[in-house]
């Protein structure tokens, strides 16, 4: 008999959401994580619950994202109720500011394309005056924006904390310092070697972020993920001026302003580079000139978990049923779906047909 119904490998946002989602349904769950120092995108991300541009060219991803945005309020409510942590979800809609007419036109074109591919989500093009009406502080260089009413943001750090907290509340076990080194399928179930311990689970989810690549082949899966660095600049707390989400700047509920984000292929280096930070600051000053005198209190680099096409991987192992792959870049956006839709499916032992397009088979990689 396995000790746990479900072992989730990886205590970031993806693993945390799945683990809690399963535990709340009564499963006995162990969430295995590394220690304090780890590549944990969950600690370095931007906090968007972003729909507007997700799934361009891949309608199933667009639909999955919308579903998650719809489920998010329920997730937020559950977190507050069960942990007292307000994860600060706000879904007032999201803006993509454009600094030239060409940029605005290409954004508008992208929105039209997505509408035709995946159906309407209310995205519309705003001119400068309309943008100003929503966000009075924007500067003169902003010529317009696209606006999608489904976009929002949340506090990703509080979300991670709340998920861990809620997992414990639902009887699950968060087990840090358990770096997984081996997984042995053992019909039925799996034996996991972690931090000098052996744990057994009836089912298994690999949600280990960048660590998934090496773990997946142990259960006949493929998760070809690689790091893509993003650098983020954060200011001191300011009085509220920006409620909306935008893809490059947002004001947190605490008042700090986050600006990002770069896309750099630099391997596992999560450092920062002044020229990149400078461009981030300059671009956002063009949008919000009043930020010139605000103090930057912190910058960081964090590694995104990227698949070759940027879309998630969800898959059950054919060779070792009961073992699942779950990874994506947008762990905040998809947290609602991961906790409330994916986790129940995993417990039930079968992914829905709508998730079939997310199989890693699309990369034509051979599972080991």
């Amino acid at each position: 008999m396995a000790a746990y119904d479900l072992i989730v490998i990886g205590g970031g946002l993806v693993g945390g959401a799945i683990a809690w989602g399963a535990a709340r349904l009564g499963a006995s769950v162990a969430l295995l994580d590394e220690g304090d120092v780890a590549h944990r995108a969950a600690r370095g991300n931007f906090g968007l619950v972003w729909v507007q541009t997700k799934g361009a060219g891949m309608p199933p991803y667009a639909h999955w994202t919308r579903r998650s945005a719809e489920l998010w309020p329920e997730l937020q409510h559950a977190m507050t109720e069960r942990t007292g942590v307000d994860v600060a979800l706000r879904q007032p809609g999201g803006l993509m500011f454009c600094l030239s007419d060409e940029e605005l036109e290409s954004r508008a074109e992208q929105a039209r394309r997505m509408h035709n591919e995946s159906g309407g989500i209310g995205t519309r093009v705003l001119d400068r005056a309309e943008v100003r009406a929503l966000v009075p502080m924007v500067g003169d260089r902003v010529v317009g924006a696209t606006f999608c009413p489904l976009d929002g943001h949340a506090n990703p750090l509080k979300l991670l904390r709340a998920l861990h907290h809620a997992l414990a509340g639902a009887g699950g076990a968060y087990l840090p310092n358990r770096t997984v080194t081996a997984i042995t399928p053992q019909a039925p179930g799996f034996v996991v070697q972690a931090g000098g311990e052996r744990l057994t689970g009836a089912k298994l989810v690999i949600a280990a972020g960048l660590g998934s690549r090496d773990l997946a082949p142990m259960v006949g899966l493929a998760m070809p993920v690689s790091p893509l660095r993003g650098q983020i600049v954060v200011t001191e707390r300011l009085r509220p001026f920006l409620d909306h989400a935008t893809h490059v700047i947002r004001q947190t509920e605490e008042g700090g302003v986050m600006m990002g984000d770069s896309h750099e292929e630099v391997g596992f280096d999560n450092g920062t580079l002044v020229p990149v930070l400078r461009d981030i600051a300059a671009r956002n000053l063009a949008v919000f000139p009043h930020l010139r005198d605000a103090s930057v209190v912190r910058v960081w680099g964090a590694l995104r978990v990227m698949t070759p096409d940027g879309h998630p991987i969800y898959q059950q192992s054919e060779r070792h049923p009961g073992a699942f792959a779950a990874t994506c870049h947008s762990g905040v956006t998809l947290a609602g779906a991961h906790a409330l839709a994916l986790a129940p499916a995993i417990l039930a032992g079968a992914l829905p047909e709508s998730l079939a397009p997310f199989s890693a088979a699309r990369f034509h990689v051979q599972p080991a």
């Binding site: 904390r161 400078r278 103090s295």
Partner: protein
């Protein structure tokens, strides 16, 4: 443009290194955020009149010669420059960016000194509570004499400030001495002959305080500051009873620790020094850190005091001259020989001091604010541990401890010690939160123009 050496900090260590390097013809730039040289100990020395120098004592007055030598050395001194980033490639970014924005060094010497160890006790965030070092800075740089000052905590600086106030005609109202009586004997057993002059000096300070008749409570515990919007009094336990005294100015002190953020941002490896109860950069005998070309001298590498800092600065400079090809190994060793002997003499008192004045507030009670910026209490940190946090990085995400404008300087060490105690693991194992730029806040506008 690449310089032979970029020195950060114009205190005893930085000035001594710069003077020696410049004398040997090296191209040296010295950056410091203060408007004048001297560092913390010799702060304001060039402007101090004879009366103030007499009040502050011979150790302070000795700084005049060091500053004069530094001024005359030919090193390029750039005051008013805060260093906000140091990269492993030895790029040093400054603000206000005087056109340049960043400098590159063939070598970089961090001589950024010490900071006062935070004293997280109940009420320490109230206006009117200050570090004893802060009160001393007001005396050195602005001729301000504290009236009705209560000194609380422990360590040589507490006694030194008391005698300076006495000499200036403003004796403190009381000293609440938290040094543990039980530590006297274990400490005395660590005394070495070379330390006797220091011990003698310390006893003289204590004699002066006694002669001035200042109420001096010993073995003080359960220290807490009282007040709503500002400090109104102090409550403490001493001599078997609880005592409360009124005060609106309280200087707290619990020793000093290395200013570690600059070395950390550059990527230097640190280790926990159990005797000094703080992190040190890992250094070799010349002050070289684990980042190639980066050296650390003075208190930034481990607390040794101003006299030791001078020699550490010169020792590091000797090795920098070797790295620059201006000295061979034998020449370097000869140049540093006398400094090594002097350094050993000055460090001889450390084991005694470290043992005698073990920190009093490493693991505060639940209600005490640990992170002043984000107002995170010890209880919040313990709750994070209960949720599975294994160290300061995850705890920072969960509680915001260390996310404010001081960048975790005021809470970093306490976060480590609180987590270590809660996890039952040694502080060195638990580690310190990753330090990221900027070391000093810069504006978004400055960042947008950094070149």
């Amino acid at each position: 443009m690449t310089h032979d050496c970029v020195i950060v900090g114009a205190g005893p260590a930085g000035m001594a290194a710069a003077s020696l390097l410049a004398r040997h013809g090296a191209d040296v730039v010295v950056l410091d955020e203060q408007p004048a040289p001297g560092g913390q100990i010799w702060r304001g020395i060039e402007a101090a009149d004879a009366g103030l120098r007499a009040v502050l004592g011979g150790e302070y007055a000795a700084g005049a010669a060091a500053v004069a030598e530094f001024r005359a050395s030919g090193a390029s001194y750039r005051p008013g420059q805060s260093v906000w980033n140091i990269t492993p490639e030895l790029d040093v970014w400054t603000t206000p960016a005087d056109g340049a924005g960043h400098l590159r060094g063939r070598t970089v010497l961090l001589a950024v000194g010490a900071m006062e160890r935070p004293v997280p006790i109940p009420g320490w965030t109230l206006p009117g509570a200050m570090g004893a070092g802060g009160v001393q800075i007001l005396l050195k740089s602005a001729n301000l004499l504290p009236q009705g000052l209560v000194l609380a905590g422990q360590g040589p600086l507490l006694y030194q400030l008391a005698t300076q106030c006495i000499a200036a005609g403003a004796p403190p109202a009381a000293i609440l001495d938290a040094a543990r009586p039980a530590d006297v004997w274990p400490a005395l057993r660590l005394l070495r002959p070379a330390a006797l002059p220091y011990l003698h000096k310390g006893l003289l300070l204590q004699g002066t305080i006694r002669a001035a008749g200042i109420p001096w409570y010993r073995g003080v515990t359960r220290l807490r500051l009282l007040g709503g919007d500002a400090v109104a009094g102090v409550r403490f336990h001493s001599g078997g009873q609880d005592t409360e005294i009124a005060a609106n100015l309280v200087a707290l002190h619990d020793g000093v620790i290395p200013a570690q953020h600059a070395a950390r941002v550059a990527g230097c490896t640190h280790r926990w020094d159990a005797a000094q109860a703080c992190f040190h950069p890992v250094l070799d005998a010349w002050g070289s850190a684990t980042v190639p070309g980066l050296l650390v001298a003075g208190d930034a590498g481990g607390i040794g005091g101003a006299a030791a800092a001078v020699h550490q600065g010169r020792i590091a400079a000797a090795d920098i001259l070797r790295r620059l090809g201006r000295l061979d190994e034998a020449g370097r060793d000869r140049l540093a020989a006398a400094d090594r002997r002097a350094l050993a003499r000055h460090l001889a008192i450390r084991p005694f001091l470290d043992r005698r004045y073990r920190p009093i507030a490493l693991v505060p009670d639940d209600s005490v604010t640990v992170c002043r910026c984000e107002e995170v209490t010890a209880a919040d940190l313990r709750a994070a541990v209960a949720m599975g946090c294994q160290g300061p990085n995850q705890a920072k995400s969960f509680t915001r401890a260390g996310m404010g404008p001081c960048q975790g300087r005021m809470c970093g060490t306490t976060v480590t010690t609180v987590l270590a105690a809660a996890l039952g693991r040694p502080p060195g194992d638990v580690g310190h939160a990753r330090v990221r730029p900027p070391l000093k806040p810069i504006t978004v506008g400055e960042l947008a123009e950094a070149t």
